[in-house]
Amino acid sequence: MTDTTNVTDSTRAKISGRGVAVRGQDIDTDRIIPARYLRTVTFDDLGAHAFEDDRTSSDSPHPFDDPRFAGARILIANRNFGCGSSREHAPQALMRWGIAGFVAESFAEIFFGNCVALGLPCLVASAEGVGQLMSAVEEDPSRELTIDVAAQTVRFDDLSIEATLPAGLREQLIKGEWDALGQLLTASGEIAARAESLPYIRGFR
C-alpha cells in the first residue's frame, strides 16, 4: 500500500487541466463512494467506483462516464459538496479517478478537511462563477482550466473567475506543506504539557 498523503515534494500552487461538471446540490459522500466499497483496508482500488450508483442507476449518462470528460482534473460542483459521512474514501476515490482540484459554491467541512490532508485544493466560487465554469466545460470539454491558488482564481480562455481559499491553506498548498502531521509532531513537549494540565488525564486525582 502506498501512502499518497506523503507526497510533499511538490507544490499545488496551480492545477491545470480539463474540467468536469457534476451538477446538483448536497452531493453526499455515500454517492461519491457507496459504503460497500469501504470494505477494504487500502484506498488503492476506489477510483473505478467513484459515483458508481449515480453512474449505473440514472437514465442520463453521468459525466464520469462521458468519454469527452475522461482525463479531467478539475471537478466543478454546486452547494455543500461532500456532505454526510466523514469517509476520506470519497476524496481518495475522486483523486484516484484523476481529480486534482475542486471548485464549488460550497463544501461540507469534513470533506474539505480531508481534501486539505491530500493536497487537493477546494476553492469556493459564487453560484454565477460556478455556472460559468460548468457551461464552459460542458460546451467544450477540451477547454483547459487553471486553478491558481495564489491568485485565487480559476481561468479559462480570457476569463478569470474569483475563487477563494483561506490564506493559511493557500500558503500550505503553495509551499507543499499541506500534510499536517509533520507540523504536529514538532510540538511533543507542548503536547505533553497540555495533557498534564487536563484534570481528566490525571483521573481527577
Binding site: 459504503a35 502531521l181 504536529l184 495533557a195 481527577f204
Partner: protein, 468 residues
C-alpha cells in the same frame, strides 16, 4: 459576558497556533472503528511512527459486523479481512479493543457513553461523522477523515479551524408521541442541511433540559446532518447521574466530586456570548418524517408532500430530483406512504429508551404482512438490558427480527440491505440515495416509535393514534 462551553473546552485543549491559521488541538478521547482506521495504521507503519498515547484510544467493530451469523471467519471475505486488520492493529499498537465477544462491543457512539469514556469537558475525535453524538455530555466531539485518524494516533492532536457557536434554544415542552428525533429533524428542516457549516451547535432550552442523556445523544448525533461538525448540550445533574458508576468514570467519591466540579465549571455561563442564536417552539413540533433524499427534506406526519414551488428557486431542482427518486407526488399526505421494511437501529436511535418506546407502540400488535421488520440494538449491553426487560419477546411476537449489535442497515456495510426500490421506515440518520444498500432503495427517516407504528400499519402512520 462569560464564555460558552465550546470556547472553554477549545482553550483548554489548544496546544498552539499553526502557520496554516488553524490551531493544534489536543484530543482527549480517540475512538476507532474498523472502516476508517486500517489505512491510518498503515500510514504509521510506513513512517515508522508509534501511537503517542495508546491509553487514550479505544477501538470496537460495528460497521461491517453481521447481525445474524457471528461466527468467524465471516462469510464476507472483505469483512473478515477488516476484522483481522483491526485485531492486528490494536494489538500491535497497544490499544484497548472491544472485540465481537466483549461485553461492551457495539456501535462506537453507543459504547463510548455506556463505558463512561465520554465525559464533559473533553475533546473527542473519531473517524466517523456521527462522533457529534458524544457532545450530549458537554464536550467538543467531531468526525475526522483517515489522514486525521493517523494524526491523532501519532500526536494525540489535530489541526483544526475554530468554528463559531450557534445557540439553539428549544422552548416549551414536547407533546406525547413527539421525540428527540422529531426535534432534530425539525431543527435541520428549519436551518437546512448546510445551515450549520462553520458552526458548532449548542442545544438548550426547557425541552433539551428535560431530555434524558439518550435523547440528548439522538439530537447531537444528527448535528452533522445539519452541516455542523459538532453539537453539544451543557452538562447538568442528568449528565452526572448518568455517568456515576460507569466503568471508566472515577469511582472514589472524592474523585467523582472533583470531576463533577470541573464538569460544571465547563458549562456555558448564563450570559455567554454566541455567534448566532435560534429559538424554536418545541410545543409546535409534531412526529416528523423525511420525504426526500437529504435529512432536511422532512414534514410533519399530518402534512402533505410539498411541491417544488413551495421552496426558494435555488432549492427547486433539488426538490424535483428528490421527489422523482422517491416516486412521491406533491400534495399526497405523508401518512399512508407504504413501507416494505422497518428498521429500528443506528447510532441515532438504538439505545434502551428507543427500544422501550418502539415496544410500547407495538403493544401486542403484529407487523403487517409483507413488511420486513428488524430491531438492531446499538450494543451488546443494550441487547442484554432489553432481554432482561423482555422487550425482545414483544418484538419477536410482533414479527420483528431480533438482531445482534451493530450499524447494520443504517449504511448496509454488512449483509443487512434494502433490495431494489424498497421503501424503509428507518430510525437512522441518512436518507441519501442508495444509503441503505440498494442503489435505488428509499429511506424515510423517523423516530423509533414511528418506525414501530409504520411496521404494524404497513404504511407511515401517526404514532399518536396508536398511543392513545
Amino acid at each position: 459576558m462569560s464564555q460558552n462551553l465550546f470556547e472553554k473546552v477549545w482553550n483548554d485543549h489548544a496546544v498552539r497556533d499553526l502557520p496554516s491559521g488553524q490551531a493544534q488541538l489536543f484530543v482527549g478521547l480517540h475512538l476507532v472503528h474498523e472502516v476508517t482506521s486500517p489505512q491510518a495504521f498503515q500510514m504509521l507503519r510506513d513512517r515508522g511512527l508509534e501511537v503517542m498515547y495508546p491509553e487514550r484510544t479505544f477501538a470496537t467493530v460495528d460497521h461491517i459486523v453481521p447481525t445474524v451469523q457471528l461466527q468467524r471467519p465471516f462469510q464476507d471475505g472483505l469483512a473478515e479481512e477488516m476484522m483481522t486488520a483491526i485485531e492486528r492493529n490494536t494489538s500491535d499498537f497497544g490499544i484497548s479493543f472491544y472485540d465481537m465477544d466483549a461485553e461492551y462491543q457495539g456501535i462506537v457512539h453507543v459504547i463510548g457513553p455506556e463505558l463512561g469514556l465520554t465525559q464533559p469537558g473533553m475533546t473527542i475525535a473519531c473517524g466517523d461523522s456521527h462522533t457529534s453524538t458524544h457532545g450530549a455530555f458537554g464536550n467538543i466531539a467531531f468526525g475526522i477523515g483517515t489522514s486525521q485518524v493517523r494524526d491523532v494516533l501519532a500526536t494525540q492532536c489535530l489541526a483544526m479551524s475554530k468554528p463559531g457557536v450557534r445557540r439553539i434554544t428549544v422552548h416549551g415542552s414536547l407533546a406525547e408521541g413527539v421525540y428527540a428525533k422529531d426535534v432534530i429533524l425539525s431543527i435541520i428542516r428549519l436551518l437546512g442541511v448546510k445551515g450549520g457549516v462553520g458552526y458548532a451547535y449548542e442545544y438548550g432550552g426547557e425541552v433539551v433540559d428535560r431530555m434524558s442523556m439518550e435523547e440528548r445523544m439522538s439530537v447531537c448525533n444528527m448535528s452533522i446532518e445539519g452541516g455542523a461538525r459538532c453539537g453539544y448540550v451543557n452538562p447538568d445533574q442528568i449528565t452526572f447521574d448518568y455517568l456515576r458508576g460507569r466503568p471508566k468514570v472515577p469511582s472514589a467519591d472524592s474523585e467523582f466530586e472533583r470531576a463533577v466540579d470541573w464538569w460544571k465549571s465547563r458549562a456555558s455561563g448564563l450570559d455567554a456570548e454566541y455567534d448566532d442564536v435560534v429559538d424554536i417552539d418545541g410545543s409546535g413540533i409534531a412526529p416528523t418524517v423525511t420525504w426526500g433524499v437529504n435529512p432536511g427534506q422532512s414534514a410533519a406526519v399530518d402534512e402533505h408532500i410539498p411541491a417544488p414551488a413551495d421552496f426558494p428557486e435555488s432549492e427547486r431542482s433539488g426538490v424535483e430530483e428528490a421527489l422523482e427518486y422517491m416516486d412521491l407526488m406533491s400534495g399526497r399526505p405523508i401518512a399512508g406512504i407504504p413501507v416494505d421494511v422497518a428498521f429500528v437501529g443506528s447510532c441515532t436511535n438504538s439505545r434502551i429508551s428507543d427500544l422501550r418506546e418502539a415496544a410500547r407502540v407495538i403493544g401486542g400488535r403484529k407487523v403487517q404482512a409483507g413488511v420486513k421488520a428488524l430491531v438492531v440494538p446499538g450494543s451488546r449491553a443494550v441487547r442484554k438490558q432489553a432481554e432482561e426487560e423482555g422487550l425482545h419477546e414483544v418484538f419477536l411476537e410482533a414479527g420483528f427480527e431480533w438482531r445482534q449489535a451493530g450499524c447494520s442497515m443504517c449504511l448496509a456495510m454488512n449483509p443487512d440491505k434494502l433490495q431494489g426500490r424498497e421503501v424503509c421506515a428507518s430510525s437512522s440518520n441518512r436518507n441519501f440515495k442508495g444509503r441503505q444498500g440498494s442503489p435505488t432503495g428509499r429511506t424515510l427517516l423517523m423516530s423509533p416509535a414511528m418506525v414501530a407504528a409504520a411496521a404494524v400499519a404497513g404504511e407511515v402512520t401517526d404514532v399518536r393514534s396508536l398511543l392513545n
